[in-house]
Symmetry: C2
Subunit: 458 residues, 2 copies
């Protein structure tokens, strides 16, 4: 046989603490602002929605937060995840570069999402919460939280965007199989849903509406039900750092260290989970690894957005967050099939870009799907369309090495498989995916509608 | 954390030889009969369809057949596969039994099928074959062979039953993503297809028709294209023994040895791949492990069929094989969603049952899907409906231990995940799956139509 391709760790190697980059940021994160008062929000503002432990983690300045054994005990159903050396991809590209990828698709829900879902379910259960409410689009986050709740015997209430509920039943079936309740959103169960249905009984729904329904369910529960979010927030990104921490041990095993670290970025959690431990090495140990966030040209938050205060949701119900944003009214082009559709980005990722600690690039979707095909035919894993953005960037780096002759070590996070996203591949393979670039003009127009507190606070 | 749940091996632990049970069978396999002459077939009869190395393996009496490095080199993209201790399932069942499962769903195609697909692609390529033709129903085998062919740069021609081609595009997309050509069957590309279309231009197709098209494509290629089959044949079962051989090493690691070994059986290859090394321990080392093949009540080949000579396909184009059979004209009830639909069974599995070396039982589909849900909510893997037959039997064994207080060690093969089979779960979750039992009367009527050579040769 040839050389080793999988670098595996023992269950005992699952990290015992999450890494909190807030302890090492050269400049602290800007405060989150209450839209009514214009003042920074405090724990009391968040208490109706989140358990105190997660509110504490959100603002903690501790470098390491211990992972409770009960969480590691669930993690080990699929963790540590493998780090692969992509020898067949390297050969196909005829590159002198070494390409590694961390594969999070081995998790029960097929993505990195359970890393935080399990933690959130655990802390809510520990504080006596009796159920979690959340929203989901195509169902990736919903299935992760449903799975996590099943382990802690916690009822899970998922509002699923109606058009996905009707047209993509398979992830809904997965959520139901894990024992959660799934409601098509807009629903008759909330005031927010009823309002929408009164205007348009055939509304296809949107992630914004589903968020409003989940938040209302928690906020009106008298404290028995809390709300759960799958990306963007600081504690969510921190839970994901198990990815990068494991990868660092695996690189030691492989006798390598990356020159370039790549992740796709939608809300920012898989990118951050993989990249933050390497960012730390740059900040603390003086390493000079390039850290690259990759986003779709159709939703170019980091590359065309502005770093200002904006709402986290389209319905303007969240606090104001300083982040790169395309404006909370942003709606991605209907032809965009690659996911990563969020108008904003995790504040930690935005601060890193603003402080020059990471890079960002945008890629159009046809080259992304083309990269996915190259990857599938060499490494034999059908990647999630989101993850394929990272593959595209990694392949481009490797092709540049072929030109330059450099033997760089390239690492990316393969955040999930595409088994439930085959409709996107169906569209690509039948030639129905035009490339689409969201223009700077569109961005500027949307940003003109931003709340004024944003301008003053920034 | 609690006790270990995953037993992993290094890439170096991938077996270096397949186990050929023909060397250890107390009674040799009955010959395969040419339907025209009534005489045993020889290598020349098979040469138009298969490469000589595989024809040799089909009849070999050697106990161990070396696995070429080039095959092990592909295997290690996902092998060794994990052996799991199902601690959460055990706890949910409140059983003193220990339950282990070998998980083949980590393969690129999501099942055990690539174990033989890679071997077949390799040997064909090595003998200068320029392409492989095969049939596929819902696409599980087609995706495995397409993946395997992509590694050896071998064109792959897949005839996919038209109703699946049209209604289940996702596995077709997967096959296409691996670079294979997919034709809906019946097609205009073969005489067999054209004949069917002349009678019925809207024919939904069948596996039998697709086999005829693939065989014709190979047989009329002048030797450039061969045919590939994903189950039933002796060499296919032998390639699958990597599953059981790895599992035996992993049981050593776990300090355990199974009292009961369970696999689901359709054509017989995943069951045999897992079970044969344990059957050997019974035959050669005097172990007394119970070996259980589980099939659907809707297709009760081993439990209600007769051990006689029959055709391997519905179109009566194959040689006559002595096997348990429901008759080659058998068509499973349309309401049956659990797979494992073959009217016959691998001759090796049939001989083992006939010689009293294994047991067989049939289970109805609603209890099977119920077991799948229990498994998903405890072990967090969404199993393939086929694999869920093994889960049902394992759970029943564990529940019997709860009654008796016995601390048995139960092992089953989880031969694949259900990510591409969610329509079956959709039907189950919406209560649309009646149980169906194929009656002994139906079996007897179908067996009345068997070729006479069967009666005399048996």
């Amino acid at each position: 046989m040839g050389e080793q391709v999988k670098f595996l760790l023992d269950e005992d190697d699952i990290p015992t603490a999450w890494y909190n980059i807030q302890a090492d940021l050269p400049t602290p994160l800007p405060p989150v602002i209450h839209p009514g008062t214009g003042e920074p929000i405090g724990p009391d503002d968040l208490a109706p929605l989140f358990p105190m432990e997660l509110i504490g983690q959100e603002v903690s300045q501790e470098r390491w937060i211990d992972i409770p054994d009960a969480i590691r005990d669930v993690y080990r159903l699929w963790r540590p995840t493998p780090l692969f050396r992509a020898r067949r991809l390297e050969a196909a590209l005829d590159t002198p570069a070494r390409i590694f990828y961390k594969y999070e698709g081995v998790s029960p829900a097929g993505s990195h999402k359970p890393n935080t879902a399990v933690a959130q379910a655990y802390y809510n259960k520990a504080e006596g919460v009796q159920g979690l409410a959340t929203e989901t689009g195509a169902g990736q986050w919903g299935s992760a939280l449903a799975m996590a709740c099943s382990f802690f015997d916690l009822p899970c209430d998922v509002y699923m965007v109606r058009v996905s509920y009707d047209q993509k039943p398979y992830r809904r079936n997965l959520i139901e199989s894990f024992g959660a309740q799934v409601s098509p959103s807009p629903s008759e169960r909330t005031q927010a849903g009823r309002n929408v249905l009164a205007d348009d009984p055939d509304s296809p729904g949107s992630l914004g509406i589903a968020i409003s329904e989940a938040v209302e369910t928690a906020a009106t529960s008298g404290g028995t039900v809390k709300y759960s979010l799958g990306s963007v927030l600081n504690h969510v990104l921190m839970h994901q750092t198990v990815i990068g921490l494991e990868a660092q041990k695996q690189f030691e095993q492989a006798g390598a260290y990356p020159d370039v670290v790549i992740g796709c970025a939608g809300g920012g959690s898989n990118f951050a989970g993989f990249a933050l431990p390497f960012v730390r090495d740059n900040i603390v140990d003086g390493k000079q690894t390039r850290i690259v966030a990759v986003e779709p040209s159709a939703c170019p938050t980091l590359t065309k957005g502005q770093y200002v205060y904006d709402f986290g949701d389209t319905a303007m119900t969240t606090p104001l967050i300083k982040m790169y944003t395309l404006g909370h009214s942003f709606i991605p082009a209907p032809v965009h099939a690659g996911g990563l559709r969020y108008h904003g980005m995790a504040p930690i990722v935005c601060a890193l870009l603003d402080q020059g600690l990471i890079e960002a690039r945008a890629v159009p979707q046809n080259p992304v799907f083309e990269a996915a095909m190259t990857f599938a035919r060499t490494e034999a894993i059908m990647p999630a369309p989101e993850a394929s953005h990272a593959i595209r960037a990694a392949i481009d780096e490797a092709l540049a090495c072929r030109e330059s002759g450099e033997q760089k070590t390239i690492a990316f996070n393969l955040c999930g498989h595409g088994h439930f996203d085959m409709s996107a591949y169906d569209a690509y393979l039948s030639g129905q995916l035009p490339d689409f670039e969201y223009s700077q003009q569109d961005v500027d127009r949307a940003l003109g509608e931003l709340p004024s507190v944003g301008a003053s606070a920034s």
